[in-house]
């Protein structure tokens, strides 16, 4: 890409593949130039199961995005999901050498390496180490320790890791197109980038991104990621349940879910029926609305309760000032916010990418939260990097003066 303000996010989802082209404006905002998408095949539960087919679909989506945004795509940020992803919080610690008492960038790197020195399964690789807070000689809540005087630097990191080969599969799929992969990002973390504002992260918020194959969650408290994870249950499961419960084909079930489905019970007349028109190879059928809603309700209730149990392992759930934010394709299901609020006993909102503008139809569609989030993530990375080197020089200068 000639313009290095252009960034591309690619999400290989279970139901669709989407590519978002964004431009970072000088004022720091993000403009979405175009969105390309293609129905996804060969992906189950967020992971590629049929390499060739998935690659074709990715190619289709990339071409679509190139046409719509009029940009040649050369490198992308790729979202990673799948039940193999795990996370934990860990603290790293470095002691400064005796002849030096000022923290420099190398110490910050060291403390990050130190925090990663925990045993994760041999086949796993680190995906992210997200800084929560630094502690300088026991002083809590330091955001940037570079330049501070100290003997000991500690840092709390939220570490996300996953099975190396499974992460590599996504990367390979993109590289064979061929496109460059700039970075891989946990899809839940990507969504949170655009769904939440900094203020909401500070207050404490839980982002639940329910996609086709997986449900990703990220919990922020005091501005830092505290918990995250991925459960391999998503909209596909609801469709499958409907298809099996009502004995209708998958395609019909999918349509029925998105057009008529709701996860609120007792909201329809007793005996209210939905008529499915006959089609070639499918005799028409009448469906009891309450039955449909019950199937959806049970599945989502279970998924939320599972999430709740996981999140309750740590105390942050009780301190969510901003509440729950639900996004992803499945958030379009009617009543899902009420169900989440009921189960978590915390106000829940439906949301979509907030921190971007441009192709409004895309920005306002919760299905694109992750892909737009990738672009936002890229923007943060880009804006972070050059100034970092810059401030380093300044920092050195200043330290020399002092």
């Amino acid at each position: 890409m000639a313009n290095n303000n252009l960034m591309v996010g690619l999400e290989i989802g279970t139901s669709k593949i989407c590519v978002v082209v964004g431009e970072s404006r000088p004022d720091g905002t993000l403009k979405i130039l175009g969105v390309g998408q293609a129905p996804s095949r060969g992906v189950r539960k967020g992971e590629i199961v049929d390499f060739e087919t998935a690659m074709k679909c990715v190619h289709e989506a990339v071409v679509d995005a190139e046409q719509k945004s009029d940009v040649m795509i050369k490198s992308v940020y790729v979202a990673i999901a799948g039940s193999h992803l795990q996370s934990f919080n860990n603290r790293g610690c470095v002691m400064l050498p005796e002849d030096r008492d000022e923290i420099d960038e190398q110490d910050v790197e060291d403390v990050k390496t130190n925090a990663r020195e925990v045993s994760i399964p041999a086949q796993n690789a680190f995906l992210h180490s997200v800084i929560q807070h630094y502690q300088v000689d026991g002083q809590q809540g330091v955001l940037n320790p570079v330049g501070m005087l100290a003997e000991k630097l500690e840092a709390d990191f939220h570490i996300i890791h996953g099975v190396r080969t499974r992460i590599q599969n996504s990367i390979r799929c993109v590289k064979e197109l061929p496109l460059d992969v700039e970075d891989v990002v946990f899809s839940g973390l990507a969504s949170a980038q655009v769904v939440l504002t900094q203020h909401e992260k500070d207050l404490g918020a839980l982002v639940i991104d329910i996609g086709g194959g997986t449900t990703d969650y990220v919990l922020y408290s005091e501005g830092a990621v505290r918990q995250s994870g991925c459960v391999a249950v998503g909209g596909d499961h609801i469709t499958n349940d409907i298809s099996m419960g009502l004995r209708i084909p998958m395609a019909r079930a999918e349509k029925l879910k998105s057009e008529e489905g709701s996860c609120v019970l007792g909201n329809c007349l007793p005996g209210e029926m939905i008529l499915l028109k006959d089609d070639s190879g499918f005799a028409g059928k009448e469906i009891d609305r309450e039955t449909l809603n019950t199937i959806i309700h049970l599945r989502l209730r279970e998924a939320f309760e599972l999430l709740k149990r996981r999140l309750e392992e740590e105390p942050y759930l009780g301190y969510l000032g901003a509440g729950i934010f639900i996004t992803g394709g499945c958030s379009l299901l009617s009543g899902i916010d009420h169900l989440a609020a009921e189960i978590f006993e915390i106000p829940a909102n439906l949301t979509h990418a907030q921190a971007a503008w441009g192709v409004t139809s895309a920005v306002q569609n919760p299905q694109f939260s992750t892909a737009i989030g990738l672009v936002k993530f890229a923007q943060v990375m880009h804006t972070d990097r050059p100034p970092r080197g810059f401030s380093r020089i300044f920092g050195k200068l200043f330290s020399g003066k002092r």
């Binding site: 499958n240 349940d241 298809s243 039955t291 019950t294 199937i295 599945r299 279970e302 149990r309």
Partner: protein, 473 residues
């Protein structure tokens, strides 16, 4: 036998000695059995059955049966269940001989390998045909042992549960939590064996101990009855000052118990408290009260208490339960009501009459039961009308009494496809018949071929309404 306080001992209970056999199948079963024998177990015969001669020779079991002298020639089954099955077929006579004359047969088998998966179901069938109550203790392999082994184990478990009256299933993956992470692998396996041995021993004791409040097969079967194969088991023993509290904590710590969390969903919980002569009522009360916090109000607690002088000043508690589905729970709860006068549930009678029962008549009870099953969930009065023939007759024709209950369950099972033709082959003597199934074929729809999403022991790919047994339509 047991030294009992004369005030409490009742002669007819002492007379009720129950011949028990403990049978191990395959290498893993053998290890568990050895552990069991080494830990001390009276009043039970031990039989080791394996294809591998080498492991048999080193076993401490009193009776040994080598399977398939010509099929496997003294070697193991090589992980192939077919070889295990063939070997069992070849040595069928020896197996029958070894299993004869027992009322209860406990079977330990590690599923997944050749002998365990192949021969265990066959041996369970043979045991049942010998007229014994069969309780199987099965271990499922570790996840890392590979998919194939796990699939073999699951298949074997399904077959095993067709023949065994109850299956207590241990997942090795869960047992991993027992030992500290830095402990050696041998320790992890040893812990698994110890857990199995503990459960077998406590169940044997439970049945044989003439208690103040006795627990019988009936209670045991009710507690173990499940179709989700999820058995909860906990055992604790303590002689500390605060032993009532300690034993319960210890029992709930058992990995098969999941810290007591899963007890909340159980419909039946069997609790047996045993202690030396100094066990006080208040201790039992404290213990039961504390346990009460872990179970829901609807849970039926089958309580037993026994004084056993051998325990000295120790107190022990055994908690057995299984997660059963609501539908089934409805059924089970209504049945004991029917003969509460006799205080013996039909399951027990079913067992007792199993031997003399000449023939089963599948058609007739099925017809009889049809309306019964239909009406139970909906209207109470109709249930009452439907049941008098059952409740008034039990002492007269026990066979009939046992029958409906058997047929009802079989009936329920029949709604599940592909189970019907798996009826065990009936042979001369007591027919082995399908009664309680722990399993049903899982239906995962489009996720059939994808990697299963198993979280907290549930396969989330199976529709929620199926797992929770909520009727749709």
């Amino acid at each position: 036998m047991i030294q009992l306080n004369k005030n409490y001992s009742l002669p007819e209970r002492l007379a009720e000695f129950i011949p028990i056999k403990i049978v191990s199948v395959g290498g893993a079963g053998l290890n568990a059995l050895d552990r069991l024998v080494l830990d001390g177990l009276e009043r039970a015969d031990v039989v080791a059955i394996n294809t591998d001669v080498h492991s048999l020779t080193s076993s401490v079991a009193t009776r040994k049966v080598q399977l398939g002298r010509s099929v496997s020639r003294g070697l193991g089954a090589g992980g192939d269940p077919d070889v295990g099955y063939q070997a069992a077929l070849e040595s069928a006579d020896e197996i029958r001989e070894a299993l004869a004359d027992a009322s209860v047969i406990f079977m330990c088998a590690g599923l997944g390998g050749g002998t365990g998966s192949g021969a265990a179901p066959y041996i369970a069938q043979a045991a049942r045909e010998a007229g014994a109550l069969v309780i199987a203790f099965a271990t499922l392999p570790f996840g890392f042992e590979g998919k194939r082994r796990n699939v073999q184990a699951r298949e074997a478990l399904v077959r095993l549960s067709e023949f065994a009256h109850a299956v207590v299933c241990f997942e090795n993956d869960r047992m991993g939590d027992l030992s500290p992470p830095q402990a050696g692998i041998h320790q992890a396996f040893a812990m698994a064996d110890i857990t199995i041995s503990q459960s077998v021993r406590s169940i044997v004791n439970l049945i044989q101990q003439p208690g103040l409040i006795r627990i019988g097969f009936d209670d045991l079967l009710v507690a173990l009855r499940t179709r989700s194969s999820r058995c909860l088991f906990g055992y604790g023993e303590s002689d500390s000052d605060n032993r009532a509290h300690d034993v319960l904590t210890q029992a709930l710590k058992n990995p098969l118990m999941d810290r007591g969390r899963m007890l909340a969903d159980a419909t039946h919980v069997l609790v047996q408290v045993a202690g030396g002569p100094d066990m006080t009522l208040s201790e039992v009360e404290i213990l039961m009260q504390e346990l009460g916090r872990h179970v829901s109000d609807q849970t039926q607690i089958l309580f037993g208490a026994a004084v056993d002088a051998r325990l000295g000043d120790r107190l022990s508690v055994t908690i057995i339960s299984s997660l059963s589905a609501e539908e089934e729970a409805d059924l089970l709860q209504t049945l004991p009501e029917a003969n509460n006068a006799s205080a013996v549930s039909p399951v027990r009678e079913q067992y007792e009459v199993a031997a003399p029962e000449p023939e089963i008549q599948p058609e007739e009870p099925a017809v009889e039961v049809q309306p019964l099953e239909e009406t139970i969930p909906f209207e109470e009065p109709v249930v009452a009308e439907a049941e008098p023939p059952v409740s008034s007759e039990p002492p007269v024709i026990p066979t009939r009494n046992g029958e409906p209950e058997h047929a009802t369950i079989a009936q329920q099972e029949k709604s599940v496809p592909s189970k019907g033709e798996k009826e065990p082959v009936e042979k001369s003597g007591t027919p082995a018949k399908q009664e309680v199934l722990q399993f049903e074929p899982v239906t995962r729809g489009r996720f059939e071929k994808s990697e299963p999403t198993i979280i907290e022991g549930e396969d989330l790919d199976v529709p929620t309404y199926l797992r929770k047994r909520i009727k749709v339509k």
